[in-house]
Amino acid sequence: MTASQIVFLLSAALIIGSALMVVTTRKLVHAALWLVAALFGVAILYGLLEAGFLAVVQVVVYIGAIAILFIFAVMLTRKEMRDTGPQTRRSWPLAALLGLLVLAGLVFLVLDMPDVARTAVEIPAEVDTVGALGQALVSPEAYALPFEVASVLLLAALIGAVYIASGQKKE
C-alpha cells in the first residue's frame, strides 16, 4: 500500500459513493451537488495520472460550468421545488440488473486484457505534458482538424441551444 494507492482508493470511494447518490437521491439539486463531488473525485484521479491540465479543466468545465447549468435548469423547471413522488421508474430493478450485467461484462473484458496489471512508466521531469498537449492540439499533422471541428461543434450547440431555450418568444 503506497501513498498513491491510498489516494486512489479514497478518491475511488468518493467517486463511486457520490455517483450512487447521484442516481438514487430524491432531491435533484442534491443529485447535482453529488455529481459535483463525483466529478471532483475524477479530477483527483487526473491529478494522480499526472494529467494536471485535465484535472484543472475538469473543475473549470464540470464544476464551474456544467454543474451550474444543471442547477439553473433544475431551478427553472420546478414550480413545486419539493421533489415529491417517486424519482425512479417502475422498471428500476430491471435497470439495476442490466447495469450489473454490463458491469460484469466489462470487468470480465478488462481482466481478460493482456498485461492489464501493468504499472505506468515514470514521465521524465523535463517533459512538459501541457506544452506537448498544446502542440498536439494545434499542429496540422496531429489534431488541428478536430480542434477546429470542436469549435464548430460548440458553435452549433450554442446556436441550437439558444434557439431552443429562447422559445422564439419574440415572434
Binding site: 494507492q5 464540470y62 435548469a73 427553472l76 423547471t77 489534431y143
Partner: protein, 103 residues
C-alpha cells in the same frame, strides 16, 4: 505510480454502469442527463488512464479527453435547453411524459 491499470479500468466501468443505471431508472429528464455525465466521465477516465499507461508521449488520449469535454458541454447545453423548452409547453420534466414520438 504503482497503481495497476486495471484499477482505473474497473473504476471507470463501475462509474459507467452507475451512470447507465441512472439513465435507465430516473424519471426526471434532468436526472437522466446527470447519468449521462457520469458515463462520459467514465469514458474520460479510461482515455486518460490509457494515455498514461500506454504511451505518455502520444497526446492522443488527452486530446480526446478534451474533445469529450466539448462534447459533454454541447450535450448538456442542448439537452437542458430541450428539457426547458419541453417543460414550457408540457409543464413536465418526466421523461416518460415526453412521448409524442410514438407510433
Amino acid at each position: 505510480m504503482n497503481i495497476p491499470l486495471s484499477w482505473y479500468l474497473i473504476l471507470a466501468a463501475s462509474l459507467f454502469c452507475i451512470g447507465l443505471y441512472g439513465v435507465l431508472s430516473r424519471r426526471n429528464a434532468i436526472a437522466i442527463l446527470l447519468g449521462v455525465e457520469l458515463m462520459l466521465n467514465a469514458v474520460n477516465i479510461n482515455l486518460v488512464a490509457f494515455w498514461r499507461y500506454l504511451d505518455p508521449a502520444q497526446m492522443g488520449g488527452q486530446v480526446f479527453a478534451i474533445i469529450v469535454f466539448a462534447v459533454a458541454a454541447a450535450e448538456v447545453a442542448v439537452g437542458l435547453a430541450l428539457i426547458i423548452s419541453v417543460y414550457r409547453s408540457r409543464k413536465s420534466v418526466v421523461a416518460d411524459d415526453i412521448d409524442l414520438m410514438k407510433w
